[in-house]
Amino acid sequence: MAVEIDPSYMKHKKGIQKGMFTCFRILSYFIAAVLFYILGFIIVKGISVINWDFLTQAPTDGMTKGGILPAIVGTFYLMIGSAVFSFPVGVMSGIYMNEYAPKGKMVNFIRTMTNNLAGIPSIVFGLFGMAFFVNYLDFGDSIIAGSLTLGLLALPIVIRTTEEAFKDIPNSYREGSLALGATKAQTIWKVLLPMAMPRIITGLILSLGRVSGETAPILFTCAAYFLPKLPESIFDQCMALPYHLYVIATSGTDIEAQTPIAYGTAFVLIVIVLIMNLLANNIRKYFENKLKSK
């Protein structure tokens, strides 16, 4: 016996569906438009400021003229500094979780701690960095204090990607290596780590992208309002792009002269983030294809 469905009921339902879907579509495109507006606004206004001098000169005339070289270099130092700390520690921590820690409670505990660390607002990292690295360990306002603070921020990202990368390696690789008489450390070093590396690197690059844009953690640990010279040691303060943008956007003597510099700085920041994202995506795709072709 065929079930009769009232055609007008179906029509009504289809109508609702159509209405809802159209609504979703419009909202999605609206947000996409907003995003393009934000990006476009900064890119269009920023790109006209960018020239060789802007990228290679220090700010002059009370930061109303000149370039942003010290800020670019400072951000670069901070990215490297944070990676030097977060990369080895994060990778080792991720390996421990996958290969050594007793499954169950221990892994869950570490994962919870890592998630908690990832959820802490960046300004709290700044407070901690100031109390611990700057005051307690007496590094002062310095690149090393800033790098360590940012490294803590990047740590959860590196740990997570390492953990996931190792988790996806089939057990047969471990067993094969161990069966050949390799120790656990050798297995990890020679078999697992090379396989996991592309994804770990992807995670590292993403964390660098995040680090390059953080302001709150370096406000009190490292960032300098203005430095005419480039930093000479890791115990010097340095300028940084995000802090520089904050400073010239919110304070200063000559707002009109500073605005173009602010657009230029925002542009450079966005370009760094874009490059990091593209790089991470491409590395991932490259190695995925390579693994597939094997």
């Binding site: 339902k13 289809k14 609702i16 569906q17 809802m20 879907f21 979703f24 909202l27 999605s28 947000i31 996409a32 995003l35 934000i38 606004f41 900064i42 080895p88 080792m92 921590s93 390996i95 421990y96 820690a101 505990f109 570490i110 701690m113 998630n115 908690n116 660390l117 959820g119 607002p121 960046s122 300004i123 709290v124 407070l127 901690f128 100031m130 109390a131 740590l155 740990i159 120790t183 656990k184 450390a185 990890i188 993403l206 995040r210 390059s212 844009g213 953080e214 302001t215 709150a216 406000l219 995000p242 904050y246 956007a249 919110t250 602010a262 925002a266 920041l269 983030v273 990091m276 994202n277």
Partner: protein, 397 residues
């Protein structure tokens, strides 16, 4: 030899495995150490006393009363439980009005005596002076200097950390500022976030998805100062014109910026949750004659509700902890907000704005660490909520 290396590796890896736990402990330890110190500070700034005439029987004043007295909002001792006489406020600078430099001595060596003289002469006086000057002065009555009470901080609704003689650290305006901004941000972001995650997960074709998804992920990577700068350059002037405000920097500007910033989190997590709904469930629903939309809201959404909720909660967490963007666009007025269109100030923005000026180790500095502790716990609670919600999801599968 190999075994030795193996053991060393195990040892090193174990140690680094607990780095995050150690870091969290250190954060808690250091934040708490500074924050708790706040409650060991006297109400009146360290090294100073409030001297009264010996006839005056007022013994205790709260920080709020002291501030009002020195702001000349309270002008009679009757209002703070004393006798009916007008209050005469006396600060160290006022000495110069009454005495010549010669009388005070070249190095203020007679200042103590002169202050005492003033205090004896004026029945209604309250003198805010360094305690070293008052050593050995007789017949002077001092306001008892109690420690800053916990209640006044947690329930106080005024934030004047730099007021003299007694700073006021009521954190309610900051907490309510944070909640207002985050609440409106989520209110704005929620409909968009849900609509877009449903659209991406269920409705959009592969091509549209491949186009929209990377953009939304990219949005997540843009630094918060850039959002703040965009807010300052575009949203703030826009709001000022639209609502005809005296200043465009307002809670609403912060909410709008935060809404844009919280969107990627809500969308990504929500979409992932909906995609994890098994194909068989969808097909069963469609086979029973349900339309696609009925399937979505009767099957897919109930199935993935815990994932969607964690996305929203994570978005709230991001909004509450966000510092720079909010600092740049909300106008930073540390008062109880009456409307979302007024300038207000959030906890993270307060820390960022004031820590640079607060002398290390002082009460102001410690109060900012207290704010950090509060923020830390708010995010800890939010994280636990997310874990509980998502663990329920696993159980359901």
């Amino acid at each position: 030899m190999k075994r030795l290396i193996d053991n060393i590796a195990r040892y090193v890896l174990t140690v680094s495995g607990f780095t995050t736990s150690v870091v969290i402990l250190l954060i808690i330890g250091f934040l708490f150490k500074e924050a708790v110190g706040l409650f060991n500070n006297p109400i009146v700034e360290d090294g100073y006393v409030l001297a009264l005439n010996k006839e005056n029987d007022v013994k205790r004043l709260s920080a709020q009363q002291i501030k009002n007295i020195f702001d000349e909002e309270i002008t009679n001792w009757k209002e703070v439980g004393g006798k009916d006489m007008p209050i005469t406020v006396f600060r160290l600078e006022d000495l110069d009005k009454h005495y010549t430099e010669a009388e005070l001595g070249a190095e203020y060596e007679y200042a103590g005596d002169k202050i005492a003289e003033q205090v004896h002469q004026t029945p209604g006086i309250v003198a805010y002076v360094p305690d070293v000057l008052m050593k050995g002065q007789k017949d002077i009555h001092y306001i008892e200097n109690q420690d800053i009470p916990v209640k006044d901080v947690l329930l106080g609704n005024e934030w004047f950390p730099t007021a003299t003689p007694s700073p006021i650290f009521g954190i309610l305006p900051l907490i309510s500022g944070t909640l207002w901004v985050s609440f409106f941000a989520i209110l704005i972001a929620l409909p968009f976030g849900l609509a877009i995650s449903i659209y991406l997960a269920e409705v959009a074709n592969e091509k549209t998805r491949k186009f929209l998804k990377p953009i939304i992920e990219l949005l997540n990577g843009i630094p918060s100062v850039v959002y703040g700068f965009f807010g300052l350059a575009v949203i703030v002037p826009f709001l000022q014109q639209t609502f005809n405000l005296p200043v465009g920097e307002s809670g609403l500007a912060g909410s709008l910026v935060l809404a844009i910033m919280a969107l990627p989190t809500i969308i990504t997590v929500g979409e992932d949750a909906m995609r994890s709904c098994p194909r068989s469930m969808r097909e069963a629903s469609l086979a029973l004659g349900a339309t696609q939309w009925q399937t979505i809201y009767k099957v897919v959404i109930p199935f993935s509700i815990s994932g969607i909720t964690s996305g929203i909660v994570l978005g709230i967490g991001r909004a509450i902890g966000e510092t720079m963007a909010v600092l740049m666009v909300t106008g930073n007025a540390a008062v109880m907000p009456h409307s979302i269109l007024e300038p207000l100030r959030t906890i993270p923005a307060t820390i960022a704005a004031e820590l640079g000026e607060a002398p290390a180790g002082g009460a102001h500095y410690q109060s900012l660490f207290l704010l950090g502790v509060i923020l830390f716990f708010i995010t800890l609670i939010i994280n636990s909520c997310v874990e509980i919600v998502s663990s329920r999801n696993k159980f359901k599968k």
